[in-house]
């Protein structure tokens, strides 16, 4: 079969209201062609993405975004808790600030058909909607769990996880692909004016579905972007009750870390919200440090932290699977070790 993928073809990275695209860009570079970011959000968002190392930014228009970093100088009232226009032209509604990013799905589909290219997106709900629109428009296979991506002799070659992360396949495609990439880091703000490093931003006359965000209020409990956290404390079944999670929270506070958990804590016991659950079917994160506390180390969970720089395991059971999958292993009682660690990190230990 003749190879079909043009090495000069663009690679699209989709940023639906969330400026965190660094990981996508790194993966897109593996395909060789120019990298074009497709974004929706306030004006500041395409500008932030333009400095993140892409070749071109296409701005579809404004949309509602809950990501405060999307608007660095904006007053905080704009990012959370804002009562938005109800689509009647009230307030800023006419400009599209009350439009969910999902509304631009048809624009993404039209774009990838008019200038075909491979498409990469993160796991956010709006990014997935855009990626799905692109995959159907291109009739391109959707790949997940992709560790490596490249273009070899006109074929897209991907190394990806299969079977929920227990196996790995190298697959070659004669046509374009759509890739969902896990885990994100926010764009690091560049120091000083960096206009030379800034890619061109073009506004597309984009079609959209009429959809309205009527209201947005801060979610109960502190919002956590686990994917962006550099230090993460993960809690598992080793905690005897929900109240004991305070030990993990205190340690995380002292370290400046985010708290994550294994699936049973979020989905069975409901001790923590679902956006804290790390695993193959939950969040997949790659922090610099993952401190697994009372986590046995089942495949389901470890698949979500495979990309962590360093893994520390604290577990009572020296035979737990996690002990063979960590860089530092402390076989002991979390009820003694966590307070000691918290005190030491806070510098209170004598």
């Amino acid at each position: 079969m003749s190879a079909a993928v043009d090495p000069e073809a663009v690679t699209y990275v989709l940023a639906a209201g969330n400026p965190a695209v660094e990981r996508l860009i790194a993966q897109a570079r593996g395909l060789g062609g120019p990298v074009v970011a497709v974004v929706a959000g306030p004006e500041s968002l395409p500008l932030a993405v333009a400095s993140a190392g892409v070749d071109r930014v296409l701005w579809l228009g404004r949309c509602w975004t809950a990501f405060p970093e999307a608007e660095p100088g904006a007053e905080s009232g704009n990012s959370t808790g804002a009562e938005l226009g109800a689509g009647t032209g009230a307030g800023t509604g006419e400009l599209g600030d009350d439009r969910p990013a999902e509304a631009y799905a048809p624009a993404v589909a039209d774009l990838v058909v008019s200038q075909p290219g491979n498409v990469l997106a993160g796991r956010g709900p709006a990014e997935r909607v855009w990626l799905g629109a692109a995959a159907a428009a291109l009739d391109a296979p959707v790949l997940t769990g992709v560790a490596e991506l490249g273009l070899v002799d006109g074929q897209v070659v991907a190394v990806r996880e299969v079977g929920g992360g227990i196996g790995q396949e190298t697959v070659a495609f004669d046509g374009l692909v759509c890739v969902m990439t896990e885990g994100r880091r926010p764009v690091e703000p560049l120091a000083g004016p960096q206009d030379s490093a800034r890619a061109e931003v073009a506004q597309l006359a984009a079609g959209f579905y009429p959809m309205t965000v009527l209201q947005a209020t801060p979610a109960p409990g502190p919002g956590v972007d686990l994917a962006a956290a550099k230090l993460v404390v993960g809690a598992g079944r080793g905690f005897a009750c929900q109240g004991d999670l305070a030990l993990a929270e205190r340690l995380a506070d002292a370290m400046g870390a985010a708290v994550a958990c294994s699936r049973p804590l979020a989905e069975g016991l409901g001790w923590l919200p679902k956006d804290r659950y790390v695993g193959i079917s939950g969040m997949q994160i790659a922090p610099d440090l993952y401190l697994a506390v009372g986590i046995s180390g089942q495949l389901q969970h470890m698949g979500g932290v495979r990309g962590a720089g360093t893994i520390v395991a604290i577990n009572k059971d020296p035979g737990a699977p996690i002990m063979a999958q960590a860089d530092y292993v402390l076989a002991g009682d979390l009820y003694e070790l966590l307070p000691a660690l918290t005190a030491a990190v806070a510098g209170e230990q004598r």
Binding site: P100, P125, E169, M211
Partner: protein, 261 residues
């Protein structure tokens, strides 16, 4: 508004194993209706009841998805009928082909205007099929919904994303994926199981709903190489000494600033 709910008849990968050649062995893992799909079916049933509509089940996969055991497992959860795109060419199908199969079944029906799905499948867990199905249909899509309300001719969706709870309103046909915690699914009772045996099952082939061939050629398989971890044992007999050593090591590695004072 005619409502459908799509689900995947799939096995939990925690029951699968991988052999030395990297081939995944699913033989000990039994397919079932996952928790995610049970939530979606219940949400869809409640919506259909509120709207006075019937509830059509949709599924796509290899022939076994239309087998009596599989069909009854889904029907007993409150579906009125089932349309199954059952074709062995769909074994291991990616989201693009699964979405095409589901969209094709929706288009064949012609009257469905709302499709509910679960948060993600239990085996792939990518959460992409609802989005791709909407793409094939040219419909609106919204994921991670905690509440769905039919409001006249439109929909009112409540969902939590990016640290905010959002209320979103729109009209038009749509595919909505519900969050895993949207409701607590009730297990089917004996009556439901008995009634399921009498419900209609429509079976379609992949060709009947316009699904193309699988793309991609597998060049190599391997057991997943996890990054080698150092496995340094830190003696935890004395907690204070143990954490001091740990912090010292992490500081040396450049992960934590400073060390114990």
């Amino acid at each position: 508004m005619k409502i459908a709910v799509a689900y995947k008849w799939a096995a939990d990968p925690s029951e699968a194993s991988v052999n030395a050649d990297g081939e995944v062995d699913w033989s000990r893992a039994k397919p079932a209706i996952s928790e995610y799909d049970a939530v979606a079916i219940q949400v869809a049933r409640e919506l259909a009841d509120a709207a006075g509509s019937g509830l059509i089940g949709l599924t796509a996969g290899p022939l076994e998805v239309a087998a009596p055991l599989a069909a009854k497992a889904a029907l007993s959860r409150g579906l009125d009928s089932l349309t199954a795109v059952a074709d062995d060419s769909l074994a291991g199908a990616d989201a693009t082909r699964t979405g095409r199969a589901l969209a094709g079944a929706v288009q064949r029906d012609g009257k469905i205007s709302l499709v509910i799905m679960g948060d993600c499948s239990v085996d792939e867990g990518a959460g992409l099929v609802p989005a791709v199905t909407a793409g094939w249909l040219g419909w609106r899509a919204m994921l991670e919904a905690n509440r769905i309300e039919i409001d006249g001719t439109g929909l009112l969706i409540e969902r939590q994303a990016g640290g905010a709870v959002e209320k979103i309103s729109f009209a038009g046909p749509a595919v909505i994926a519900v969050a895993a915690g949207a409701v607590k699914p009730k297990p089917p009772g004996m009556k439901d199981v008995l009634a399921a045996a009498k419900k209609e099952v429509i079976q379609l082939t992949a060709a009947q709903v316009g699904v193309g061939l699988a793309q991609g050629e597998v060049l190599a398989r391997a057991r997943l190489e996890t990054p080698a971890r150092r496995g340094v044992l830190v003696d935890a007999t004395d907690p204070a000494a143990a954490v001091a050593r740990l912090i010292g090591s992490l500081a040396t590695d450049g992960i934590l600033a400073g060390g114990p004072k």
